[in-house]
Symmetry: C2
Subunit: 186 residues, 2 copies
DNA sequence: GTCTATACGCGGATAGAC
DNA sequence: GTCTATCCGCGTATAGAC
């Protein structure tokens, strides 16, 4: 065998990482298989030895990215609710997240593409998001607040990314952050 | 002349209306010029006598749809802040809006496509959204609250649309609504 | 496992008849 | 103003050599 055992698994992870960046930046549907693979330094022919179809890539991508998001939330080092929330808000609602979608959360980047996908994509998405919601509920002490914060985070980044001026982008996320802090007396 | 004067303008409005529904449902980039025109009962050749390019259609679409959203907010019949907000929340955050994107607000449907568009699209988007923000500020008495509510509305619909089960969709928007009502003591 | 080459369809846009 | 026909590039996916 010309390739080490375990090579394929590592290569797959690498492809997912690079494709994830590109999908978040340019959109998943808008990027061709050629584009994804060119960014990873291989050709489109190689793609199909890792994924059955482009649809399969989207599913693997969502799973990988949502699990990473969950991990980040889980690894928040703070314990008391106030500090925990503050840490998340500062990490999520900042100008760098608005301007560099490729290194950001997949939720605001691909929400509308998931909304237009078929049922198995939505089920995966829902399942992972419910895990996130449970974690937020645990820290915020309320299911409503947990959804409220999640929706606010996604909405703020989504809206800010459409703005032409950086100052307006900042205004949106800073207002959103202030609104959340005032709303959650935790 | 075989066509009445004013015909072209009316036809353009009709094309915008139908294209808007399709763009919100399927995505703008994902729908071809053929698709838009087929829905309107004409062929792709006719398209180019109304719009210079597909890009020009997106711009016209955003302008038309955002002005409609603004009009809806403006025509809210209530005057006192509490009733005004209640009316908006009930209109925006309901299961029908989640499930029928084609008749809904353009913000959650095309936010990510605007984020990936060029500067003149973003400038138009920003300009119209700032008008909306000013209106919300006027009724809520706070710029932070106005952005907070706008972000929450967009985020809630965006997240809910990715959910596989209707019950979870309802949970998201009802929680979001409850969160907003609790946060805004207007 | 990755490469090149290729089949085949769809996308945006234009030309010319009516 | 709208139609049909068409150019050309890009997209997904497959076949076969290495």
């Amino acid at each position: 065998m010309r390739y080490k055992p375990g090579y394929k698994q590592e290569k797959r992870k690498e492809l997912l990482y690079i494709s994830g960046q590109l999908a978040k930046q340019q959109g998943f549907a808008a990027t061709g298989v050629d584009g994804f693979m060119k960014a990873a330094g291989v050709t489109s022919g190689a793609f199909y030895s890792h994924f059955a179809s482009k649809h399969a890539l989207l599913k693997a991508l969502l799973e990988s990215e949502l699990q990473q998001s969950f991990s980040r939330w889980e690894n928040n080092p703070h314990n008391n609710p106030h500090e925990w929330l503050d840490f998340e808000l500062n990490r999520y609602l900042n100008i760098s997240h608005v301007q560099h979608a490729d290194h950001g959360c997949i939720l605001p980047a691909l929400a509308s593409e998931v909304a237009r996908s078929d049922i198995d994509i939505k089920q995966l998405y829902q399942q992972e998001l419910l895990r996130g919601h449970a974690l937020f509920t645990q820290h915020l002490g309320s299911e409503d607040k947990a959804w409220g914060v999640l929706c606010q985070l996604v909405g703020a980044i989504s809206l800010a990314r459409g703005m032409a001026d950086e100052n307006i982008q900042k205004q949106v996320i800073e207002s959103s952050k202030a609104f959340l802090k005032a709303s959650l007396n935790v």
